[in-house]
């Protein structure tokens, strides 16, 4: 599942980058990888790909702002993620 997240981020938001450029712990918002409209696309991806519903109160940086946070968040929603 981690790979699916990485693949999405790279293909949608880091088109000009190499896979090794995406560090799992970096903040998407602070580095500009995802901007405010990008969050909406990320939510759509999470809900479709992992069949979860993201509550409004869960749309916070703690859950969504890096590959690592996304993995932790998905685990909390009962989705199994692969180790790094």
């Amino acid at each position: 599942m981690r790979e699916k997240i990485r693949e999405f981020i790279l293909s949608r938001f880091m088109l000009d980058a190499k896979p090794e450029d995406l560090k799992d712990g970096i903040s998407f918002l602070e580095t500009g990888v995802i901007d405010s409209t990008g969050v909406v696309e990320l939510l759509a991806f999470l809900e479709a790909e992992f069949e979860i519903e993201v509550e409004d109160s869960e749309i916070v940086p703690e859950n969504l702002d890096s590959v690592d946070s996304l993995c932790r968040y998905l685990e909390s929603k009962g989705v199994t993620v692969s180790p790094p």
């Binding site: 918002l29 405010s36 909406v40 749309i59 916070v60």
Partner: protein
């Protein structure tokens, strides 16, 4: 200047003179045009721009366009007319509704809204989009919700997905771009420049439409934070109803202010934080002056950075290989 709650106070007479001189130089010397045309929205920015233009050039050289459409607030037109009359400027009234209907703006929006709210009736229900509340109090990221308000007062909100958001956003932007078309028609016909009304808070955070209200010839108030626009507008005698009016995009049938639509905090604190961000004010000084916690300041600054970065293209000419 040391950071304090008074840091945005301006010397209004000196500022009015400085901006008027700028308008005069730009219009007469640089563009070599005869006057200014301004879109009069019934809001404080355009009222101020019109007043400054009158001070710079005289009322006979300023033309106001009042351009409502069917989803505009009912006060926009009367407020605009009253302000224009107070300034003694000529106005042209253009109802944009038929033009926007012909372009399918309302139909495009209705299609999207009905996907989310099956019983939406555009002639009966009101709609608006908004972001989650005050970001100083709430950590939620910027995701727009659409709210449909029924005549009985009930309201239903729906989170907008990426395609729905883009469809609605693109359709809505046609309204502002249609105003730009009208302004340039009247500007070019009269040999006038098109006067912009974007303030600094909006300019830096990308709260304007590319080639919409961003499509203008001069931007005389783009260096003023919103709260400074209000100071100057008050000193220049902008009518009280406009001074008291809650700033809004005025593109939705439902009432929504700029704060809930985009900025997520009141202008009084937003402008001070934006100033602090722009000037690298130390966090402990911000904490001391504004009484905010570090996490609130961080959240605000992250939002400013994100919006500024995402809207870079609004503030420059299109990239090219021209050296």
């Amino acid at each position: 200047m040391d950071f304090s709650k008074k840091v945005l106070k301006i010397e209004t007479e000196a500022e009015a003179e400085r901006i008027s001189r700028f308008i005069r130089e730009q219009v007469l010397a640089r563009y070599k045009r005869k006057g200014v045309v301004v879109g009069i929205s019934g809001g404080v920015d355009s009222a101020l721009m019109a007043a400054l233009s009158v001070r710079a050039l005289g009322a006979e050289k300023v033309l106001g366009l009042i351009m409502p459409e069917k989803e505009s607030s009912p006060v926009s037109e009367p407020y605009g007319r009253e302000q224009a009359q107070a300034l003694g400027i000529q106005v042209e009234y253009i109802d944009l509704t038929p033009l926007l209907s012909a372009l399918g703006v309302y139909e495009k929006k209705t299609r999207v809204i009905r996907r989310l709210c099956g019983d939406y009736e555009p002639d009966r229900d009101k709609t608006k989009i908004s972001l989650p509340g005050n970001l100083l109090e709430r950590a939620e990221l910027n995701v727009f919700s659409l709210t449909v308000e029924k005549p009985d007062g009930t309201a239903h909100s729906f989170r907008l997905g990426p395609e729905d958001f883009r469809s609605i956003y693109a359709a809505q932007n046609i309204k502002t771009r249609m105003r730009m078309i009208q302004l340039y028609y009247h500007g070019e016909k009269n040999h006038y420049v098109v006067g912009g009304t974007t303030n600094r808070t909006e300019m830096e955070q990308g709260f304007f439409v590319k080639y919409g209200d961003g499509g203008v010839d001069i931007e005389p108030i783009a260096h003023l934070y919103k709260t400074q626009v209000l100071q100057l507008a008050r000193s220049m005698g902008v009518i009280e109803r406009i001074l008291k009016r809650r700033p809004s995009p005025d593109t939705w049938s439902g009432e929504v202010g700029d704060e809930e639509f985009y900025f997520r905090m009141p202008f009084e604190i937003l402008d001070l934080l934006l100033y602090a961000w722009n000037h690298g004010v130390a966090k402990d000084r911000i904490r001391e002056v504004l009484g905010l916690r570090d996490e609130q300041i961080d959240r605000a600054f992250r939002d400013f950075e994100s919006k500024s970065r995402a809207t870079w293209h609004l503030r420059c000419v299109a990239p090219s290989l021209m050296s």
